[in-house]
């Protein structure tokens, strides 16, 4: 029997057939047929956000915490432009999203019609791919292609722009089980010759070092990476995006690297003789000055995206392939090899690393009369036993969360690493909570960041999302203030947050629980109380030390060995 459906029905049916659980969206003229089709079914659940940026971040948080693609539905014109920040955020961190944007009627395209923007043109530089569907007959296949492209190879967001008349036209519905594109064939298997070379190089190392990134999480290769690293017995560091891909409490883990990485991680990067980069892209916040980066090492790079290889740092052994596959091959070769890691050399290497570790570079003042932001995060870590999902916004609080919350599992740490989008934390946490209704989901934020998507507190109320918002309120755009203190002689130009709302009242007015915590002694009891309120969103406003800075710090354009330690550490 042939099934005749309208474009709008096809779209919703295709989402169902794709196994989509949630669509994050906001209605408008161009998508009214689609909203009507959503209304007439119960399989695909729609989450109504309060701003389209929130929809994209929520879908993104859903995707990051589950590995499944996030889905967004917005109207044409302002709906599409509001979504752009979230699309770019997902693009920079290679997160699979499918974003459906409404468009004006096909006959009106190009006429500056009401709520018309060139969505395909505007999003082109920040999507993996995008489509304009001009004929309802192409709709189902295009949706299939969008999911296929978004979730395979190096993942990323895909926009499907659907004109209103296409959603009204009727055609036969059949959802393809599979699509192939002659122009798109992601590589999965690594080149055996290169893998062999890489293994030989690692086994000959005296001071081997692993640096792994978000690609390990995206590629579901955490377990393989852990087995591989233990087999080699060498130190491992994670990028901001890679936290949780290797258990942070493991003794081989030396912390995060880069601009605010640990002393031991950055020094080990600088001094190693063989560096193995896995699913990481030599981002400028990780590398610092290219000429000074890990100067004495031979470099191996495993990445699924050929264009990531030798983009900024030249490597000696590039391997294009999915990290999981390549690491499994390497494990086999290492187990079968006659030559094994040089135990004596490794022992000497660890001795050196432990000396760097002894600097205790993350130590902070525990006796302060003011609440130290680090202390709040340390407590959060202890009380949630390291098993919460933690989203963050962008700034100092983000770095402290990365430093002080020890992630032992992948997909627990959800932050905008590439684009650095303030406003990400709260909506992303909504997506995480929907995907994991029973889990503790904490949003670590600052009083500046939280204001950027604060409207989503209303969405949280509507869907009963019991987030725990940890607002580290220093009355400053802290990270901006820190740079102004260091590099602009303390001229704090427009970084002071004046006229802040009373966050307790604000949270309450949205129907949530608000708390204000002003004394170090109140931190733990307050957190305990909040965590006990399992079915309520709790907004915790921690009034923290305004002058606290994030250490260690490598200035932009410096080498890994040129770290600033905190004033207390420099003296030590």
């Amino acid at each position: 029997m042939v099934l005749e459906l309208t474009g709008a029905e096809i779209l919703v049916r295709a989402l169902k057939d794709e196994g989509v659980e949630y669509v994050f969206g906001y209605p408008g003229g161009a998508v009214l047929h689609i909203y009507d089709a959503l209304y007439r079914q119960e399989d695909v659940k729609h989450i109504l956000v309060r701003h389209e940026q929130g929809a994209t971040h929520a879908a993104d948080g859903y995707a990051r915490s589950t590995g499944r693609p996030g889905v967004v539905l917005v109207t044409s014109g302002p709906g599409a432009t509001n979504a752009v920040t979230g699309i770019a955020t997902a693009y920079m961190d290679s997160i699979p999203l499918v974003i459906i944007t409404g468009q004006v009627h096909t006959w009106a395209i190009g006429s500056d019609a009401f709520q018309e923007v060139d969505a395909v043109g505007i999003t082109r530089p920040c999507v993996k791919h995008n489509f304009l569907v001009k004929d309802v007959k192409d709709l189902a296949t295009t949706i299939k292609k969008a999911f296929y492209i978004a979730t395979t190879g190096r993942p990323g967001p895909v926009v499907v722009d659907v004109p209103k008349d296409v959603t009204a036209q009727v055609t036969e519905y059949a959802y393809p089980k599979k699509v192939t594109l002659r122009s798109y064939k992601p590589v999965v298997e690594g080149h055996p010759g290169q893998i062999k070379k890489a293994v030989e190089l690692i086994l000959s190392a005296k001071r081997p070092m692993i640096y792994s990134g978000g690609g390990v999480i995206l590629g579901e290769a955490s377990r393989t990476l852990t087995e591989f690293t233990r087999l080699l017995g060498c130190p491992i560091t994670n990028t901001l995006m890679g936290l949780g891909s290797y258990p942070a409490t493991d003794k081989q883990f030396v912390g995060m690297l880069g601009m605010h990485g640990t002393y031991e991680a950055n020094m080990a990067m600088h001094e190693c003789d063989v560096l193995l980069a896995i699913g990481a892209r030599f981002d400028d916040r990780v590398v610092g000055k290219v000429e000074l980066f890990s100067p004495g090492s031979k470099k191996i790079h495993i990445d699924i995206d050929p264009s990531s290889i030798s983009k900024s740092v030249r490597v000696d052994v590039p391997i294009v392939g999915s990290v999981g596959n390549v690491l499994e091959e390497m494990i086999k070769l290492i187990k079968a090899a006659k030559k094994q890691p040089d135990k004596a050399a490794l022992a000497a290497w660890w001795k050196q690393i432990n000396q760097w570790r002894a600097k205790d570079c993350l130590r902070y003042d525990h006796k302060s009369k003011l609440i130290k932001p680090q202390a709040v995060l340390e407590k959060l870590y202890q009380l949630t036993k390291g098993d919460a999902f933690v989203t963050s916004d962008v700034g100092q609080h983000q770095m402290w969360a990365a430093q002080f919350y020890k992630f032992d599992k992948p997909r627990r740490w959800i932050n905008s690493g590439g684009l650095g989008t303030m406003g990400f934390g709260l909506p992303a946490a909504m997506g995480v909570q929907l995907a994991h209704p029973k889990a503790t989901v904490a949003c670590v934020t600052g009083e500046a960041s939280i204001m950027m998507c604060i409207q989503e507190l209303s969405t949280c109320k509507q869907y009963g999302l019991p987030l725990k918002i940890i607002n580290l309120n220093n009355r400053y755009m802290g990270m901006v203030r820190q740079w102004q203190e260091f590099f602009y002689k303390g001229r704090y130009s427009h970084s002071y947050m004046d006229a802040l709302p009373d966050f307790v009242q604000l949270a309450e007015s949205f129907g949530h629980v608000g708390m204000k915590i002003e004394k170090p002694g109140d931190v733990e009891p307050a957190l305990k109380e909040a965590l006990k309120l399992k079915d309520r969103l709790v907004f915790m406003d921690f009034i923290t030390d305004q002058t606290e800075n994030v250490y260690p710090m490598i200035e932009a354009g410096k080498g890994h060995h040129e770290m600033h330690l905190s004033p207390e550490r420099e003296l030590a």
Binding site: K128, H129, L181, R182, S183, D305, S307, I309
Partner: protein
């Protein structure tokens, strides 16, 4: 170094803007770019002339390959190849210059394809250098208008860039 990159891509609307957008977003330079459908109407063939260090050219080819619409790609300058460009040039042709310009066009194997009592339009095909040479040989004041197609290229030998 100068490179000629041949690209086979899906003949979709917007495919050209993906390539042009990539070059402007990443700050690569484009000397010329030509594009037209092939014998297979679902495919377009693009010839792109660019220049840069080996690192940049490596990135350019990788980034182009990453575009979902790009089916195949070849850096023609890596092997023996042929490049051709077509030029239409309108020149003032009056008095004694009329004969002289005609002779010059013959020497360069150009064709006069439009004639008025005061002008010619000459069609000329060859490498970019040859076209430059013709322009140089003309009296600059005589040139009324120059239209160049940009480079098209193909590899020598039996191997071909095909799906």
């Amino acid at each position: 170094m100068r490179h000629i990159i041949s690209i086979l891509m899906e003949n979709e609307s917007g495919a050209l803007s993906r390539v042009a957008g990539l070059f402007s977003a990443r700050g690569y330079n484009i000397e010329s770019l030509t594009v037209a459908p092939t014998d297979d109407p679902s495919l377009s063939r693009m010839t792109l002339v660019t220049s840069g260090t080996d690192n940049i050219i490596e990135q350019i080819t990788k980034q182009l390959n990453k575009l979902v619409d790009v089916v195949k790609l070849l850096d023609l300058t890596e092997g023996p190849h042929i490049e051709r460009e077509m030029m239409l040039i309108k020149v003032k042709a009056t008095g004694v210059a009329r004969e002289e310009i005609k002779r010059l066009a013959d020497i360069f194997r150009g064709h006069i394809i439009d004639v008025t009592d005061s002008s010619y339009v000459i069609e000329l095909t060859g490498t970019g250098e040859k076209l430059d040479g013709f322009i140089q040989a003309l009296d600059g004041k005589a040139i009324l208008e120059v239209v160049r197609s940009g480079v098209s290229g193909i590899a020598r030998g039996a191997k071909s860039l095909k799906v």
